[in-house]
Structure formats: structure tokens, C-alpha cells
Symmetry: C2
């Protein structure tokens, strides 16, 4: 494996520390320490901690986009695909004992009022994610598995927000309970 | 109106500033400045900013509990009561252009890993809120308005998390769109 360059080291260390601890309690010094690079090098690569934060949202969203490839596997029925997808998202919480949550949700709460650049990146990330889930719901609707009473885009937007809320609650409760309830209600009431 | 004592001034100013700006970017100095009291007096009343934060969660939850009285008005059918209740919650966002969000949600994200005392208060607040909403859903189930496929407590927990997620997204989008979608899906698919 090739060694990460300084910029990549800062992005990887930034993603790790900002996700684990939050944006406002983490300083540039913490990030350069975690990356193992001198502090001066930070500002050679990023104009500010906000600028790094905006790139980290895009990096995290790209990881999410890679996971969403499973939503495009047409050999699996659309509702099965959606269930497997949300199950795989729920498993992301296990490693941290549900403490970390979703970086998009964390930054939405902490930074929407503070950084317009980060807020723009979050809005784009949520929009892309919603469109990807909506496409599979629309497939399920065409197959007659989900009624067309509400538009696929509305259902997708609702589900993503509800999942973010469940992740938030699982941070408080430190267990998978809210994520399990999300799956039960989603596949009994919303996508049914 | 009687003048607030120093402790009440600090709680009111703390609630206002911590809700508007967030916990970690707000210092004790900002809170005493907003309260118009000398900094030394803060520590006569609160052991730490965390201790104030825990009391503020309880104060905010008590305001929420007062609003939930409308859920007990048995002269209104249960589903109408629930709709009017969530509509009234959605209107809370208008004044800040959807920037502030819900203090319980904000603190859940920002402080669950940082302050066990605040996390305990959040867990209690969410538990009480869920129980109050579940009681009305159970009434609707007894009246035959909502199927009993899923327990009232599960549905209530899901709805509160979904509402928190919609509030989070409305912070990013700075509009009521996610809150409107929450109402549409809730009363077309979940409580139907």
C-alpha cells in the first residue's frame, strides 16, 4: 500500500477525529497530531478548519455513495435491497457502541448555523442520498410493492430523516433499539 | 412581573444562548454576559457549564411537557390531537428560520459522548415524551383508527425520532420542507 501524502493523511485523520469527538471541540492541533504531521503543513493544504470540514463531508459522502452500490443490484427485489441497505447502515453503529452517529447528522446539528460552506456540502450529500433511495422506492412502486399515494422522493426523504433521528437517539441510549424500531416501522408501515 | 433572581437569570440566558449557538462554542463568559450578572456568581449557582447544561435540558423538557397538555384534551379525537400537536411543534422552527432546531436533538448530538449527566437527562426527556405520545396512539388504536400491528410505544418512539431527523434536515435546508414531509408521511402511512 502506498504511503498517504500529507493532504490525504490530514483528511483521514480529520475524518477520524472530527467524527469521534465533534467539530468544535477538536482543534487543528488535534488533527495534525493524529495525522503525525507538523502543524505548519495544515495551512499548506487547507485554508481553515472549515475548509477541511467541507472536504470531509464530501469524503464521507463518497464512502456512503460506494455503499449505495448495493441499491443498484437489479437481481435483488427492490424492497429486499432497501432492507439490506438499511440493515447495513445500522451495523455501522456497532463498532463505537452507537456513540459516533452519522457524520452528516453530527455536522448538520453542529455546523449548519456556523459554516455556510459545510451546510452547502451537507445539503448536496442529503440530496444525492435521497435521490438514490427514491430511485429504488420508485422501482418498488412500479412493481406494485409500495402504493403510489406518496411520491417516492417524499418517502425517501422521510426515511433518511427518520434514520438520522434514530441514529441520534441511539447515541443517547447507546444501543440499537431505535435502529431496530426504524426497520420495523419502515417495513411494516411505510414501504408496505 | 417579579424580577428573576440570579439563578433564574443564568438559566434563562443559558437556555437562550446554548440553544441559539450550541454548547461547545458558548463559554460561561457568554452566558453571564447574556444574563447581565458577574462571572463569579455563575459558580455560586452551578458547579460547571455541564451542570447548567443538565438543568437546561430539564427546563426545556418542562416547556415541552407543558405543550403536551394539548395531547390530553379528550374532547378532540386522538389522531386530530396528534396532528395538531405535531403541527404546533413544526411552527416552533419559524422564528429562527429553522436554524435553531430542537435543543434535545442538538444536545443529543453534541453532548452524548461528552457529558454522562446531560445524556441521562436527555434519555429521561425522550422517554417521557415517547410515553406521552404513545398514550394517544394507544387511544387511537383502541378507537380502531390505527392498526395494532405495532405497539403504540414503538410507533411513538419512531415518530419522535423521525421528527428530530426532520428538524435536523430543516436546519440544513433552512425551510419547512422536511417538517411538511414528516406530517404527510406520518398521517398517510404511519398513523393510518
Amino acid at each position: 500500500m502506498s504511503r498517504l501524502n500529507t493532504r490525504e493523511q490530514l483528511l483521514a485523520a480529520g475524518l477520524e477525529t472530527l467524527h469521534a469527538r465533534g467539530f468544535n471541540v477538536t482543534g487543528v492541533q488535534d488533527i495534525v497530531d493524529a495525522a503525525g504531521v507538523p502543524k505548519g503543513s495544515f495551512y499548506n493544504h487547507f485554508a481553515s478548519k472549515d475548509a477541511l470540514g467541507a472536504e470531509i463531508v464530501q469524503l464521507y459522502a463518497a464512502k456512503g455513495e460506494a455503499r449505495r452500490r448495493m441499491l443498484q443490484d437489479m437481481s435483488v427485489p427492490p424492497l429486499v435491497r432497501l432492507r439490506e441497505y438499511f440493515e447495513s447502515l445500522n451495523e455501522l453503529g456497532v463498532a463505537s457502541g452507537y456513540a459516533r452517529g452519522c457524520l452528516l447528522g453530527n455536522f448538520s446539528i453542529e455546523l449548519s448555523s456556523q459554516s455556510p460552506a459545510i451546510r452547502d456540502c451537507l445539503s448536496t450529500a442529503f440530496g444525492d442520498w435521497t435521490a438514490a433511495v427514491a430511485a429504488v422506492i420508485a422501482e418498488a412502486q412500479r412493481a406494485g410493492d409500495v402504493p403510489e399515494t406518496l411520491a417516492a422522493g417524499q418517502l425517501a426523504s422521510f426515511l433518511i430523516d427518520a434514520w438520522e433521528g434514530a441514529v441520534m437517539r441511539s447515541k443517547v441510549e447507546r444501543n440499537a433499539g431505535p435502529l431496530d424500531v426504524f426497520l420495523a416501522v419502515t417495513f411494516t408501515k411505510i414501504l408496505a
